[in-house]
Point group: C2
Chain length 502, copies 2
Amino acid sequence: MKLRVKTIPFETGFTTVVAINNRDALRYDLHPGDRVIVETTRSPMRQCIAVVDITDGTTLRAGTLGLFTEVARELGVSTGDTVSVHPAPKPDSLHLIKQKMRGVRLQMRDFDCIVKDIVAGALTEVELTYFVCAAALNELSLEETSYLTQAIARNGSRYKTKKYPVADKHCIGGIPGNRTTLIVVPILAACGLTIPKTSSRAITSPAGTADTMEVLCNVSLTLPEMRKVMQRVGACITWGGAIGLAPADDKIIRIEKPLSLDVVGLMLSSVMAKKFSVSATHVLIDIPYGRTAKVTTKARAEELRQHFLSIGKLLGMQLTVVLTDGRQPIGNGVGPVLEARDTLQVLRGEPGAPRDLREKSLMLAGHLLEFVGHVPKGEGYTVAKDVLDTGKAWKKMQEIIAAQGAHAQPRLGRHSCVIRATKGGRVREIDNKAIAKLARMAGAPITKGAGIDLHKKVGAKVVPREPLYTAYADSREKLAQVKRYDRILAPYHITSSSTGKN
Amino acid sequence: MKLRVKTIPFETGFTTVVAINNRDALRYDLHPGDRVIVETTRSPMRQCIAVVDITDGTTLRAGTLGLFTEVARELGVSTGDTVSVHPAPKPDSLHLIKQKMRGVRLQMRDFDCIVKDIVAGALTEVELTYFVCAAALNELSLEETSYLTQAIARNGSRYKTKKYPVADKHCIGGIPGNRTTLIVVPILAACGLTIPKTSSRAITSPAGTADTMEVLCNVSLTLPEMRKVMQRVGACITWGGAIGLAPADDKIIRIEKPLSLDVVGLMLSSVMAKKFSVSATHVLIDIPYGRTAKVTTKARAEELRQHFLSIGKLLGMQLTVVLTDGRQPIGNGVGPVLEARDTLQVLRGEPGAPRDLREKSLMLAGHLLEFVGHVPKGEGYTVAKDVLDTGKAWKKMQEIIAAQGAHAQPRLGRHSCVIRATKGGRVREIDNKAIAKLARMAGAPITKGAGIDLHKKVGAKVVPREPLYTAYADSREKLAQVKRYDRILAPYHITSSSTGKN
């Protein structure tokens, strides 16, 4: 059937939807959720698959087809043009998703079919939700997780290189200020290793690695741009979202979000697919655990470590997992500019540089150097320390920044306020979630210069009225909000030295 | 924050979605899927809850809020108006859905909370899918099914009466032509029983009870109109969709459709909620089974019967279940006009009336008469037969038709063709699904007069070239399609009498 186009100025961001009048739907036996192929009538012929949504005459007259912005753009049509519409078969993956719901173990080709349909936009949000829910309830086996990982990586762009080994690192997150990547990557690159690092922006945290790196230089590199930087410097720190390495993963994450699901199989495949797609051969996974971290107990961290090791083995990837201290933020600054400041202080060897960030970065870099076989066992830390202390890592970082396109460094928030201790004692813990929330209230990561600068870390002695942290923001209202919520969230746990109690 | 409205001419039919520019989203810390309260700035203040979708500047400028037709209508605003937008808390039911995913047994108040949110449009399609998927994988217990049933019925309109007993019947479907309702209802009403029947339109079948009744009279009654008909005649046969008896059920069904899920707990609560909401006290459930029916084996039918009986007991509803022959369509006609013709022939006692439709209707009506205690055990069939044969049921049906608003009877399809047997023998089975498909190809239910008229039923002797059925349609193309697909679908299974084989 032929219908006249009416564009609807809106992007669904998911499956492509076309709206059709209820009379036309009856006439052509189309039902809500049916799939159709929409084709242009003029050459060059272009087509796309879309899901039918049925609407009444007040929204759309009979004989017209409502096209959302992205479909209209893909087809190159606009209001008044004619397109032809035919029923399309249901995607094969629906049948596989139903099997997964029944608890059937799926094969490599099954996951490939599902992921292909996800990337092509052939599955609706509802259909993909069934897949995610089935994966959550009928847990994915290790084999299935490895199949899904490979399918996600293969159905996306891929960074390839012959300069082996290719090192990579990943932290499962949840610790504010934990910007070791910006120190580990230049150390490794200065040692001559290949390390094509893609990072994420903040979703619910006050800064992602990409947000912090963006303070220093451009991170929105395309795949060809990333290739150029890699050829020139041997390392990069870019925003993964711009590259399209694992597009299916982004859609799966979007489905997990509303219920804040934490499906182990999906999390593993999400992380590993990104390593797979940059051709990593040696990967270090950092799992911080602590009462207010993402992983709350050592037992759970150990369990996750085992999952990672098993999936790494199945994927034929060298993988090492370290469990780290997650009792407090790492470094002093929380928020893009403050975190960038901390990493620069460490790289430049400045006296005020946060020790914990320096030590954790050296430990991770040393571990990776030994793991890839670049230095003998037991010498990693010393080599890393040497590369950092002689300024070689800082030189390398300057090369990376220049290759990606240096930014003028933005300043700290215009306004600030100091939060002081109400009692004396010793800092036992700093609530990661509370600090993250306060830094977001101050405006991070949108306001790059906003955030929290910690003056006291775990173990420090505190006397009453001593400054605990400084909050930076671009408006006084936001600072007032931080002050108000500091009392509610109480991020510092201070115990009086004698009793050891709160 | 205050934003200018831009209306988007489209109805989502599900949750209310508002679109916001990505700069505004960053500025106000809103993420895709976040919930906001949108309020009008002029009095009278109106508000609604909506889910945020984030779009770029080409679709929506910063400072504007995209409102879909239904939200704009609800708020009474149009392009250029100003609204204020605030973050809204996540609905309580999300937490309960997550519990159901973990396998927790939910309570009455939990289901009430979930169903309230479904009806209010507070859950997105993705969120509701998690509920449906969890109900499918962590099966709902009987108690849970009864809680869900009551929650669905209570969170919708309800037909109440004091004229007890209130009889109702329901067929789980899958058998073309099976229009016993149009005969059972007038028989029962002629006996003085209250029977407020609400039926559905065809979704994937060539005619629903509502589609067939619509050939004779208006079926799109509102609840007050239905009340009037009930007061005047004591019975009605209306389209449930117009009344809003169980609005949550429609949304749940919409989520089950893409994967053609058949979740027992959801099916039971769907059927029983509708009985509950018309205050039925005595319900007869008809489960036809056969190789090409919805229920394929007697064992499965028995199992379903037990499920229905148990849930009926829990709901304090008198319930009786009959298993019936589902080896072929019931009656001769398939398609609204043809099915209406069959029922009128039975009601008028015409000699050509289909015997199987007459007998099945008498059996069901007799069973219900005994079940409600209107006649002693063993006398139901005779009483029903008497009411039918003396014309009392036909008189009652005429009253129902008049009360609902009689329609001019539409004619059969303009074109027809006869399909003949290619070999002789005896009809062993008629494929329900194939007949339904052919009738839809002919144009049913949209073209009321389109469909299939069967000349031979199971057990009949057939000689080669003898007519098996006539197809009616409004276009020659559709008839040609029926002819072509008759060979592929081969609806008649004819065995040569001697061997008993195909």
